[in-house]
């Protein structure tokens, strides 16, 4: 019994310790606060931070709205529900790089949808969303939505299925409209799931590297550089591990602060 208790805990602890130690490497490299001072004067740091915030806000909001709508739809009873679920959820399983590959095909002026639309007389032949600084943000957002919406849909559907159907029956008998039933039964029930999934997603989107790295490479002109992309560029391309670590630290502090504030403000776990 002891062995059975100790072994898994030890192995778990081993991994979590590993996790833990590596999260503060800046403790052994000593450059004082010079890196942090440099960071405050770095316009690219502020620019990438601003873009990160914008990216997270837009992505999470849109993914939540579409994901919730999608979850509500596939929670209904209708012919072909199982197949529809499998199909609309499937982009979730696809990697960021593959998403990029697919959307590069779709956005390219010679191979993409816009060319075939232009053949039909819609739009123009030189629509190239990824090359145009005005559209590159929207283009990246749509590609990430394609992959991100299913995550919310799956999580929220899982939670929707734990709602007792009798509640709806009772509300319907009492004459509550569909909208009122949604506001008073569905939403309160989903609250914790929504808070948790938006938080996780916000952190993941903040750290999203693969899609932006391969789709836009942070360009054009650093317009789509998020903080982690900047870290990767600093650490890997210019081998500035110290500065990269300073960026990492700041990003981690921001995330932790944001997470705590978000959980507090949204009263996560509070029963109404």
């Amino acid at each position: 019994m002891l062995g059975f208790l100790v072994y898994p805990m030890a192995s778990v602890l081993y991994y979590s310790l590993q996790h833990y130690n590596v999260s503060k490497p800046w403790e052994d490299g000593f450059a004082g606060l010079a890196n942090f001072q440099a960071l405050l004067d770095d316009p690219l740091f502020w620019q990438s931070l601003g873009f990160s915030a914008k990216w997270v806000l837009v992505e999470v909001t849109l993914q939540l709205l579409f994901g919730l709508a999608l979850a509500l739809i596939v929670n209904e009873t209708f012919v072909g529900r199982g197949l529809s679920r499998a199909l609309v959820f499937s982009p979730w399983a696809v990697s960021g790089v593959l998403t990029t590959g697919i959307w590069i095909l779709l956005y390219n002026p010679t191979t993409g949808v816009f060319r075939y639309l232009a053949d039909l007389g819609i739009g123009s032949y030189d629509t190239a969303p990824l090359a145009d600084p005005n559209t590159v943000f929207t283009a990246a957002v749509v590609a990430e939505l394609w992959r991100g919406v299913p995550f919310f849909a799956i999580l929220l559907l899982a939670d929707l299925q734990t709602i007792n159907n009798d509640l709806y029956e009772a509300a319907a008998v009492d004459g509550a409209s569909r909208i009122r039933r949604f506001v008073h039964i569905t939403l309160p029930h989903l609250k914790d799931a929504i808070i948790l999934s938006t938080l996780l997603r916000a952190v993941w989107e903040f750290n999203n590297v693969d899609l932006l790295y391969t789709l836009t490479g942070g360009g054009p002109a650093h317009q789509t550089t998020t903080l982690p992309l900047y870290v990767a560029a600093k650490a890997v391309q210019s081998h500035d591990f110290g500065y990269g670590s300073a960026l990492t630290t700041v990003a981690f502090l921001i995330l932790t602060f944001f997470s705590i504030a978000y959980l507090r403000l949204s009263k996560f776990g509070a029963r109404t």
């Binding site: 059975f4 208790l5 898994p8 778990v12 991994y15 979590s16 130690n21 590596v22 999260s23 579409f66 709508a69 999608l70 739809i73 209904e76 009873t77 199982g82 529809s84 199909l87 609309v88 959820f89 499937s90 399983a93 696809v94 990697s95 960021g96 790089v97 593959l98 990029t100 590959g101 697919i102 095909l105 779709l106 075939y116 394609w146 799956i154 999580l155 899982a158 299925q161 734990t162 159907n165 709806y168 029956e169 319907a172 948790l196 952190v203 993941w204 903040f206 750290n207 590297v209 693969d210 790295y213 391969t214 982690p228 870290v231 990767a232 650490a235 990269g244 670590s245 990003a251 981690f252």
Partner: protein, 291 residues
């Protein structure tokens, strides 16, 4: 033994609600119209990839006809996707096994033993979810260099396992807590050891959770790009996402190859996903969402 277990203790399977009265029902077009539009958004990109992968070079048609496998031959042997596929498979399966085994034993301990710091441990596990993979790159790289694991696929397996464990642990321990301890006690009374009781009673009931956790681990490590890009630099050790990214790098050259590579990378995970998505929703209903 397993057949006599009360099924009621399992999380409810994905169920069809009883038919509602007419006034309550959502009308057909309110479902099919938005669903159809969304399906279009989901499927057109997949279709585009298939068309480009299967149609002959130089064709402009939006139907993949006549079907050709030339593109696949190019990427599989010419561009090394056959090797990348093997590497991805190795990393995926190894991460699946290590994550599931550790999460199973750790999750059991968390669910069944009361020990000091258990609650703290669970909270800490949840907090690790807020630590980003990209932020770990530098320290992880240092560690793997010390261990001499740079350029080794095992570095990827270890990194994947570490990142998959917290959520898997929470999910599995949540599931085990839903299994009444009396069932196990009954087995002990019948003379089972703790270990045998676990295998005979608990394990069979954990199927949905194990499928959810295992497939999560597999899909994640199959898809992981960042670690694979950073920790492995020899071409024979590339995984599919890295190989694909390099194809994108030279994308002006060959769209057919890009699409075919995409199909190679997508088929295994999409298939796995199609099979397990029901369990995924179930597993999360019972475990993760509740924290």
């Amino acid at each position: 033994m397993t057949t006599t277990l009360p099924r009621a203790q399992l999380p409810a399977p994905v169920r069809t609600p009883p038919p509602r009265s007419r006034s309550q029902r959502v009308s057909r077009w309110q479902i099919y119209l938005p669903l159809g539009l969304y399906l279009l958004f989901t499927l057109v990109p997949f279709y585009w990839m298939l068309v480009f992968a299967f149609r002959p070079r130089g064709s402009d048609s939006l139907l993949p006809w006549p079907i050709t496998f030339d593109n696949f031959a190019t990427v599989w042997t010419g561009m090394g996707f056959g090797v990348f596929f093997q590497n991805s498979l190795l990393v995926g399966v190894a991460s699946l096994i290590s994550t599931t085994v550790i999460a199973l034993s750790g999750g059991y301990a968390l669910a069944r033993y009361a020990f000091r710091g258990r609650q703290l441990f669970l909270v800490a596990m949840l907090c690790t979810q807020f630590i980003p993979g990209a932020m770990m790159l530098i320290p992880l790289f240092e560690i793997f260099r010390t261990l001499g694991l740079v350029n080794s696929l095992w570095a990827l397996v270890i990194a994947e396992t570490v990142f998959q464990l917290p959520l898997s642990l929470i999910l599995i321990s949540g599931f085990i807590r839903n299994i009444p301890v009396e069932l196990e006690q009954a087995a002990w009374v019948d003379g089972c050891s703790r270990l045998r009781g676990f295998f005979a009673v608990v394990l069979p009931m954990l199927r949905p959770a194990l499928i959810a956790v295992g497939s999560f681990a597999f899909i994640h490590s199959w898809n992981n790009f960042l670690f694979a890009l950073m920790f492995v630099s020899e071409q024979e050790k590339f995984t599919l996402p890295v190989g694909l990214a390099f194809t994108i790098g030279e994308f002006s050259v060959d769209f057919g190859a890009l699409a075919a590579g995409g199909v190679v990378a997508a088929v295994p995970v999409v298939l796995v996903f199609a099979v397990i998505q029901r369990y995924l929703v179930q597993g999360m209903s019972a475990g993760a969402v509740k924290g």
